[in-house]
Symmetry: C2
Subunit: 349 residues, 2 copies
């Protein structure tokens, strides 16, 4: 089959690789119907994270089950399934605590599972899923074509935006600031609206992203950053800042922006993978009782809840995909996101 291999900085190639095979009894083979490029894939692509040797890449996909191992109980060949951006069993104590991204037996796509069998990356024609019963959620029936982008968004970005909102404690009536206007930030706006926030301030300087943020439920846009951004946010929110600030970037600057946009006693929900490891400044947090909560989003725990609203058409997170390319053009999908010509690229094998 064909799969995407990253060789180094700005060098991703579609190459022939061995077809996946069932190995562990509880696994499944999924034929990928749609995959995409994640903001975090751009780190190795840009060389921020070095690539020491060619490796599989990709971790977001939806598809059709082709085969299952003998121990698989809930998934059948022919099912259309959503996979989270990691593998998990949904039976360990962390999964049961709602933190499936810390599954005691799970792992990451494009790497060996705990038994030593390979789990393919998502940007290819097929993927072997180690814990099929845990990781995969089947849709009620084969989806209409127009639902596929929003179903794919449940694999990562929508669940991650939702996790930012949940981590910050967004509830009906909350005031919210979202730092970051990438696909996750936009999904965080949508998640906040879905949870009943009364005021959602999107910090964005890009006109097309501002427009989508408004369609997703943003009530206000702040284009300024730094001190001016903080002043603008406080000017909109009682002079004190937001109840909940959702950080969806992961840099020191964005976290600083988030903390300073939060009112005393408020909470920052952060899902931007810390890029270079900004440390959190404990003294200003302590002085203002601003909390910080978040991390790798346990998107698998959220799939059922969010799927209901995607299936009914109540939310359309798939609108963050503003470019669609065939798998053969995977390099263009990366380039378009790298150059910010696309918010997020959907890729069809």
């Amino acid at each position: 089959m064909l799969a995407t291999i990253i060789h180094g900085e700005r060098d991703v190639r579609l190459e022939e690789v061995p077809d996946p095979v069932l190995s562990t009894g509880g696994d499944a083979i999924v034929r990928v119907v749609a995959t995409c490029v994640c903001g975090s894939d751009l780190w190795p692509y840009r060389g921020v994270t070095p690539t020491s040797q060619p490796r599989r890449i990709g971790h977001e996909f939806v598809g059709v089950v082709e085969a299952v191992g003998p121990e698989v109980a809930t998934i059948e060949p022919g099912d259309f399934v959503i996979a989270p951006f990691y593998d998990c069993d949904m039976t360990c104590v962390n999964c049961e605590n709602g933190v499936s991204a810390s599954c005691l037996h799970g792992g990451w796509w494009g790497a060996d599972d705990r038994s030593g069998a390979f789990a393919d990356g998502g940007q290819g024609q097929k993927v072997r899923v180690p814990h099929a019963d845990g990781s995969l959620v089947a849709t009620p029936e084969y989806p209409r074509e127009e639902l596929i982008p929003s179903l794919l968004a449940l694999s990562d970005v929508m669940g991650t935006g939702h996790h930012a909102a949940v981590s910050a404690g967004v509830r009906p009536g909350s005031t919210v600031v979202v730092v970051g206007d990438g696909a996750v930030g936009l999904c965080a706006v949508l998640a906040s609206a879905r949870l009943g926030a009364s005021r959602i301030v999107a910090m964005s300087r890009h006109e097309s992203r501002q427009a989508l943020a408004r369609e997703f439920g943003a009530t206000d846009i702040v284009a300024e950053r730094g001190d001016a951004g903080v002043a603008a946010v406080k000017g909109l929110l009682d002079g004190i800042g937001a109840d909940c600030v959702l950080e969806a970037v992961g840099t020191k600057e964005s976290m600083d922006q988030a903390i300073r946009s939060c009112r005393p006693g408020g909470m920052v929900g952060y899902v931007g993978v810390p890029n270079g490891g900004p440390e959190l400044p404990v003294r200003p947090l302590f002085a203002s009782n601003v909390g910080v909560n978040g991390g790798f989003a346990p998107v698998r725990n959220y799939v059922e809840e969010l799927l209901r609203d995607v299936w009914s058409g109540a939310i359309e997170p798939g609108r963050v995909f503003d470019l669609q390319v065939p798998l053969s053009d995977i390099a263009e999908a990366y380039a378009a996101m790298d150059e910010r010509r696309a918010i997020k690229a959907l890729v069809r094998p």
Copy 2:
């Protein structure tokens, strides 16, 4: 009147100072019935925080109202009152949000208020309270003598321990670890038990404090620290750590202990004033979805709720006072706490 003045390292003296006078219309004069020494008072006492010039010290007190300004509506001369460790109006947006320690118009004892009139420190015979209606809570009647230590604990330590528990989200059935066996840590144990925690692990190496922790509701004691402490905690709690970890010390080591004792997806509630500013390590927090929440405890917001249980005898936080001295022996109160001969010293003017 007599009041405590800190002159420098290990040099506190009782000295004659001017009697306080009503100044701003909304203030009150309180005759102090009981005060105490806070762990944070030991910082200037030990010279960790330099004392550039002699100044008033103390911020925890209960007493009897002697006089009130013409604008005071809810407090009357003769009332027995509890003061929080700061002054606040309870009408600003931060107070209404439950974060009275960030009152927009309040301030700290032993300093000028926003109008420029002086608010005395708590370790003296009398205190001028700038926002009497906001800051002071009157008890239903003059308390029995044996209730006074527990009422005084509502001025800081019990409300602060409760804030750690609230910040960490302690609820019925939670598993809890408390890092720190000072008065606040012990009150955090008591607060966790009061909120229904099913398992409370107190990290303590001191036999008398272990005993009080058990009486306050600790189900387990861990005497080890560092790696051994983390291993012992995980051994008691499903191999993963606690739902909620309450940090009541404020050093880099104690925060590290707290974070590593927390399960994936759990929350650290911290109330130990960061001593020297340990930064929070964002990458391990992100990887495990451990949140950090807390700060200066808004104890005034908790007084009514906790007072009911103190008044009924359901909780006795005043048991953290294991030394009582007259105000004339204030220097001994400091020395006993500095030398860890006492958990906390109660001082009677």
